[in-house]
Symmetry: C2
Subunit: 244 residues, 2 copies
């Protein structure tokens, strides 16, 4: 077996399979055997909530993330991605040790490269961020984006609830509820009114609202999950990358 | 970590994530941490095509299946399912060794139990099978279903092509093409005309055509992928089973 992709999923579960499916979709393949070897862990019970840890002194998710990466490495994964933006907060990720021979592809860094490419030659290009409160308040994206536009506090809180609410939240249900859909679309429009030309869907649950779409009304949607999928292919079998 | 589910995916890739998502959908959960630990291997490059092996003397898929199960076991999986009907042919599966402490949940057996329940008290209940040519010709389902209705040869071949064709087949594309959709729906109608009240979608690519639906026109659709998902939950954390 050649190089293989490893995905730390489960954070949340459907975001993990969304990343896996995006790897498959971006692979040049006409039969099963053309696909790149891939391993997924989905073990959320050992990865406490990232925002709770960052903002409210909750349990530490780093050891569980590290355990998952070690399983993926033992199966043969050489390039690993974590399907959770908030887990990329330096307060968490900097403490996650990665075994020798494994490259951890950083979703936030790669999204920053992608957005820098989008912005080239475009005057007055403003990019906004929708995310969990953990990602927003811990400035996970800010170091890459000096002029990052963030939502007003009430909108930020409503998006966080659309992700987490136990009744209508994206994490709680197996399909996106109408209420979560409307809250997230409303938040994108809010970012439009703030002058953004593009919005980063900076929580892996958010792209599930748009089913892989790259725009909403006149605003461009940046999907870090898809960017990570493409970079995982580049880090393993770049010749198999299909830009769809 | 308690008991964990292992899934041998990649055969094909989207059928693997379909099974994973069906496990998530059938799990009683309102937050990430409520989900059962799960591992997926998607390594089709080491699992040659099952029908090719069974009918045309192709390479043996058994060693690759065994390797995947051994990876899943080493991560801690206690109940494993294989997201491929054809791989359940005794000519293949009987040679796949399973490590101590791992239960291999047999999708075909579980589908048989499910259909037997459906049939209870219904006179003239006839069940049909759509599948790959490997599954049909090697009688993978027949021992459980003495009166199993199979499609006419030309219809069987057209379904096989809808799964495998490198242009429009389900394995070749990241979404089901109109042509594959129409061929499979036409085949279900053909089974209806043969007097079936229910049809087993006996290749894990086929449920992708119906997006989880349980009927088409007046015929009931039996989805072995969904049945396997439910049984994997029962084999690990039965208290978490949600019948949706």
């Amino acid at each position: 077996m050649g190089k293989a992709i490893g995905i730390v999923g489960g954070v949340g579960p459907f975001a993990g399979t969304d990343l896996v499916n995006k790897v498959f979709r971006h692979t040049r393949a006409t039969r099963d055997q053309d696909h790149i070897s891939l391993f997924l862990t989905s073990c959320p019970a050992i990865i406490p909530d990232r925002t709770e840890y960052l903002l409210n002194g909750g349990e530490d998710p780093a050891p569980g993330l590290e355990k998952c990466i070690s399983w993926l490495s033992s199966c043969g994964a050489s390039a690993v991605g974590i399907a959770c933006n908030t887990a990329h907060a330096p307060e968490i990720l900097s403490r996650v040790r990665v075994p020798d021979g494994v490259v951890l592809v950083n979703m936030i860094e790669q999204t920053a490269h992608h957005v820098a490419q989008m912005a080239k030659g475009r005057k007055a290009f403003k990019v906004g961020l929708l995310a969990t409160l953990g990602t927003l308040r811990c400035n996970v994206y800010d170091k890459y984006f000096p002029d990052l536009v963030k939502p007003d506090e009430d909108v930020a809180e409503s998006v966080h609830e659309a992700i987490y609410d136990s009744q209508y939240g994206i994490k709680a249900l197996s399909s996106v509820s109408d209420k979560a859909h409307d809250v997230v679309c409303g938040a994108v429009e809010h970012m439009m009114r703030k002058g953004c030309s593009a919005v980063i869907l900076g929580c892996t649950e958010l792209p599930l609202v748009f089913s892989g779409g790259h725009s909403y009304k006149s605003i461009e949607l940046v999907d870090p999950t898809e960017i990570l999928a493409i970079e995982l292919i580049k880090a393993t079998e770049p010749g198999k990358l299909a830009l769809v």
